[in-house]
Amino acid sequence: MEQAVQAATPVEQAPRKKKKKINFKKTWPLLLMMVPGLLYLIINNYLPMFGIFIAFKNINFAKGIFNSDWVGFRNFEYLFTTADAYIITRNTILYNLVFIVLGTILALACAILLNEIKNKFAMKFYQAVIAMPNLISWVIISYLVFAFLGAETGYVNNTILPALGSDDWIMFYMEPKYWPYILTTINFWKSVGFSSIIYFASLMGIDHSYYEAARLDGASRWKQITRITIPIMTPVIVMLFIMNLGRIFYSDFGLFYQATNNSGALFSTTATIDTYVFNGLLGVGDIGMSTAAGLYQSVVGFILIIVANYITRLMSRENAIF
């Protein structure tokens, strides 16, 4: 302990040594408390960061991970010469863009509608129900999707299509072309209500006197929304928007893996970086390449988050993460 004090103080602030001296006698219980949490961070977060060296190795399980041969950037070369890298990057970014842009609009519209409900009980009820899908696990959602889209027993093939006069079944889990729409719908079903509550919370904070003044001037409800609500909400919208853009390289793994039943036939429209890495790990793909894909995601994702945070900080300091 004493040694640690000696070592730490000069670095901290050499001139005011006395004042800055850390009092371990008094603070050791506080330090002790943090041990389990910090230990966990080391194991769960920091050790894997050093594990990224695997991306530069040709993993051979017979030789063991540490003894496998170094191959430099070969895994990355392989990854980027296949069509896979393009497909997974494109899918990840395009889906996220649609989710962010359309999702924001839907969530905002939903929040504005919630705000029109004056009956408190009804408002709380709607809020509770529309936030509920976000609680459901992706495995259960894959069952819900299967109940609708399953080939032999699904509701769509057995009830909706016949009602529309079509006798042919659609093999949904084999046809990539439908999935951009299906996945977008599932994503909105799960998340729009949830995110509308975030907007609703900040809508509730708007000073009512603005609306009263507008009403006295004869502004219609629509005018009040477009001229008061939206402008006041803009900073929040922009901020969440940028934060989400910062995460554009990460996909909602459960959505793309579970809702599609991880069907290989759908790869071209449903594979994202996360599903690619996961499949690589579980033996469907190449582990070196999937680690390379994971590192590619971590690095680009990190840069994007830093940029997004920097922009947020320029706009409003208190909303930035750091």
Partner: protein
Amino acid sequence: MKKEDRGWAIAGHISLIFYTVICIIPFILLISASLTDQNAIYANGFSFWPSEFSTAAYEYIFSADSGIIRAYGISILVTVVGTLSSVIITALLAYPLSRKETPYRNLLMFLILFTMLFHGGLVPSYLVYTQLLDVKDTIWALIVPGFLMNGFSVLIMRTFFSTTIPPELIESAEMDGAGEFKILGNIIAPLSAPVLATIGLMNCIMYWNDWQNGKIYISNPDLYSVQVLLNRIMEDIQFLKKNLPAGTDMALASLPSDNARMAIAVIGVLPILLAYPFFQKYFIKGITIGAIKG
């Protein structure tokens, strides 16, 4: 003007009722499917009302050999142990960080923040947990990797502690000779019930819903949680359908029938749906805390 407001309110009610119906309808299909006779499912597919009512699926589930009861036990055990330990570990880290006396506070805050920005990725994590710690096929695999603590909860809790608990309170407790652990347990924790409940609830849902750790680390069926079991059944069926010639019903017959699978999904989601009315207040509060920086 009044009339216009009413028009908006009615439009709001209609759209939101429509939306709530969309949120609920898939569950009705699921429940109805679980209560339909298997032969009726073969004939007509799933429908919103059982064409032929049957409780055979539930009888199968609650019979001893389905493995569901066991999976349920695993899910409950993991959720309870995981939630309690994660809240405790998070609070133990967040509290010292909220105190000005704590040495290296800024450095530690940075280290926590950094974990929120950069991830080593799935494969390196897997190697740490299997090669270094050997959690494979143990109950710890369902509790520890990824879920036990996250930087975000620590920041939220720390902010709550430092903004709602007056430093004088801690000082006076120290004067009375209370140690830090006592202060945290007897003074801070009771005052912080809202944030502890919110974080606990979020973690609880996360543990109950987890299938990923189970899929990556567990191959022993005795350790399947409900979600992992459901995932495994779905995968086995896809696999058999793809790899067996048509008409090989033998292998398929050993798997739960359609209605039984739907029934397992129903009982997998039921605890959350039933408890939801009681915790939705905290849940909705949690959404707002989570969105706005801790």
